[in-house]
Amino acid sequence: MTVQLAAPALGRPLVKRLGELTRQPILVASWIVVLVVIGWAVAPGLFTSYSPFDGDTSASFAPPSAEHWFGTDRLGRDLFARSVYGAHTTLTATLLAVLIAFGIGTVVGLVAGFVGGIVDTAVMRVVDVFLAIPSLLLAMVVVSVLGYSTQNIALAVGISSIASFARVMRAQVLAVVTQDYVKAAYGLGVGRLGVMLRHVVPNSLSSVIALAALEVGTAVLAVASLGFLGYGAPPPQPEWGLLVAEGRDYVAVHPWASILPGVALAIVVIATHRISTSYRKEHRR
């Protein structure tokens, strides 16, 4: 392994990176998917002229058409519009979940790995406990305690993922601290805090960031699963997981109502996985 003092992506010329990208059409497509979805979340009005809330009651359960790409739901609301507007709720929730898991998990893992000793033991035992309770169960209990809202669901999903992040971060930190350049830094008289911030953190983060990208997909699916089990966002707020979960009741008669949002959801999850994989590869080279 070569010594990396900073994330290589930042150091490389932009032009060269763009050139590399064109040789990876799938990666490009994945980025486009993610950017489009971010666009949906930020400015949904640009992507659809329909309102996600007001339906045309005469067009209840219209099948997909040029007019309604994903068809309409029972109240005649355009499902594509609901998917587009749903991106905001879903992405906000996902982001919150990832931030909680990433933020807390990384710090905990860093402290455990870097400080070591009794702190490490204590922290890792707690992490063991959280790993032993399946995340969905933990999330269900947390939502039951905190109440039903998208934020609480995000919080629950985030909390249930902290342990994974902590474990990955700790493993990375343990690997990095044994590297020669870290020892060299100590030799040069850099303090512990300095070594941690300047060398350990940047070089340990890549795996955790890749994990965070994966977590985006996981969180979206977790929210969908909770929606299926009845722990959903409050109506009328559209949310992807809930669109799929609620549409399933009509699957025999109006299958598009859950399949099309489901396909959209799957594409986004696959895209984030692809980006995560590519990021990890690049940083391990």
Binding site: I26, L75, V168, L214, T218, R248, V251, V263, T277
Partner: protein, 571 residues
């Protein structure tokens, strides 16, 4: 839930991965959809119509819930009450058409003028499936435990609400039981026929001695009903078999004598699409809890849809009369007027359901129709009422008064599939007149948990109560009892005593004409004068069955009885 994160934890080096699978998955899913659309017609059985009932056969029945304990006197879901109804009998039978109380295990009855003592004269030929006799002693033992529970046995006071004020049961002779109450309880007569949750179905003395834990052995739970337990598999199914020598079904039912079917299997299938698919593919003969969107397609495939509105109250928005802003009668009136009933009827409800036209569902005696007067869609009048009460339009369309927004917080239950879309439709309409209705629609347990804070947290609690007696108005709205609108001194503009007295009268007489009059007065007060409630729709129990199935009975509480049911193929 699975995820990929663990793979990263163990990450070793890497190779290129191209998620072409994205396309593959999409194609697969679409293919699946194509299949689903063109799903084949199911089994269409033998000739429809009547003919002479055929004996024998097993009815495979499906429903959403499962029975959590074989003890029929406990329960909060349909599976529990349905199964309880087929293994136990009640003192009386309420005619589902007229609401009249007719004989069953009690041949006749009388009551004192104060309506505190009810004397039942029991049938003498009734036995439990273990051979022990049914008599006044049994009635007493059952009611005592039903109302008081038994802490040592772990039995809850299941009937404490239904038989409130119960003192004792006296047994002047072996077949006469006198049930006594502290205060007048006219509704007890209907309660003696009650077939919904936590019902007073009679259990043998040997069963009453069992602890809650021991009652988990279904074969030890002994009733007098037309069926007896064969097996109980929690989460999966309950199997009942015919009781030989059963001859005491309610005289009001067509058929006396043992059930036609050998067996009824209550299969639990939580997913709506799986219930529908199973019926269409012939795996089951009949299913309750039919999804509203599946009704038409099942009918088109030759299945029969039967339904009965749930007798009792409609699904209601009960307003919190002391919490801002629903403490303002203008807001309550505006909500009554502010939503389009036609839209809900068209998009959300099927022919099996109806828009509520009063607090009471039309089959309850004393029901009065308010659809032409108070309960109609008139957004202009609603706006005018709000404007006059000082609610002026705010910058975002939501009205404001004294700097406070017109936000109404609703707590509802998600158990009926119709609830959420119906409430959402109302939400859309109310927004147009400047009311921000915020919905929290959750499963029953969470609803119950949230009810504890309803007085201070929720402007609207949305639910119904299954009780086919006009005194349900007293039970729900009396400030001394349910008080679902939280009437108190703080409820500005409402004469609390007037409400207490008006609804209270319903439990003080059993004279049909007087009850009708009192019921009308109570509805006038609650719906019109004080606008304490916004009735939404009448929920319904819907069954789809193959056309070789006959005779499934809906009782006055819309629960099913299978004593008359039969299959033309006898299989």
């Amino acid at each position: 839930m699975s995820d990929l994160r663990s793979s990263i934890e163990r990450a070793a080096p890497r190779r290129k991965a191209w998620p072409w699978a994205a396309g593959a998955v999409a194609v697969l899913l679409l293919a699946g959809g194509g299949f689903a659309i063109t799903r084949g017609g199911g089994s269409v059985g033998a000739a429809a119509g009547g003919g002479a009932p055929v004996r024998g056969g097993t009815l495979q029945f499906a429903l959403i819930d499962y029975q959590r304990s074989p003890d029929p006197q406990w329960g909060t879901n349909y599976a529990e009450s349905l199964i309880g109804n087929n293994i136990t009998d009640k003192l009386t039978w309420q005619d589902p058409k007229t609401g009249e109380i007719t004989p069953w295990l009690a041949q006749s009855w009388e009551y004192n003028k104060e309506l505190t003592d009810f004397t039942f004269h029991l049938r003498k030929d009734v036995t439990f499936s273990d051979g022990s006799p049914f008599n006044a002693e049994v009635v007493k033992a059952n009611f005592d435990q039903y109302v008081r529970g038994d802490q040592k046995l772990g039995i809850n006071p299941n009937g404490a609400a239904l038989l409130s004020g119960y003192i004792e049961t006296r047994t002047p002779d072996a077949y006469t039981a006198v049930v006594r109450f502290k205060k007048p309880l006219a509704s007890f007569l209907q309660a003696s026929s009650f077939t919904a949750n936590a019902q007073p179905g009679f259990l043998s003395l040997s069963t009453l001695r069992l602890s809650a834990k021991e009652r988990n052995d279904p074969r030890k739970v002994i009733g007098t009903g037309p069926f007896v337990y064969d097996s109980w598999e929690p989460q999966v199914k309950t199997v009942l078999v015919q009781r030989k020598g059963y001859t005491w079904s309610p005289p009001a039912l067509k058929h006396q004598g043992a059930a036609y079917l050998d067996k009824v299997v209550f299969n639990t299938i939580p997913e709506a699409s799986v219930r529908t698919g199973s019926l269409a593919s012939g795996a089951i003969d009949a299913t309750l809890d039919v999804g509203t969107t599946d009704e038409k397609s099942l009918a088109d495939q030759g299945f029969t849809i039967i339904h009965r509105a749930v007798s009792g109250t409609a699904i209601l928005f009960n307003f919190n009369s002391q919490l801002f802003p629903t403490n303002d009668i203008a807001v309550r009136k505006a909500i009554q007027l502010g939503w389009d009933r036609e839209a809900i009827k068209k998009t959300v409800l099927t022919d099996s359901y109806s828009i509520a036209t009063s607090i009471l569902e039309p089959s309850v005696s004393g029901y009065a129709d308010y659809s032409g007067s108070v309960l109609k869609y008139d957004p202009e009048k609603a706006k005018q009422l709000l404007q006059e009460a000082g609610w002026s339009e705010g910058p975002d369309g939501i009205r404001v008064k004294d700097g406070k927004k017109l936000v109404v917080k609703l707590l509802g239950i998600s158990n009926l599939v119709v609830n959420k879309p119906a409430y959402e439709s109302i939400q859309q309409d109310l927004k147009k007149i400047g009311i921000d209705l915020q919905l929290t629609v959750v499963p029953i347990p969470d609803y119950t948990a949230n009810l504890a804070k309803a007085k201070t947290d929720w402007n609207v609690t949305a639910s119904n109560r299954s009780r086919n007696d006009p005194a349900v108005l007293n039970l729900q709205y009396s400030p001394l009892l349910g008080n679902v609108t939280y009437l108190a001194k703080e409820s500005t503009g409402v004469d609390v005593d007037e409400v207490t007295q008006t609804v209270g009268k319903l439990d003080q007489t059993l004279d049909p004409a007087a009850r009708k009059e009192y019921a009308k007065a109570a509805q006038d007060l609650l719906i019109d004068k004080y606008a304490l409630v916004n009735p939404v729709y009448n929920p319904s129990q819907v069954i789809a069955h193959a056309n070789y199935v006959h005779g499934i009975v809906f009782d006055a509480q819309s629960r099913n009885h299978f004593v008359d049911a039969w299959k033309s193929n006898g299989k």
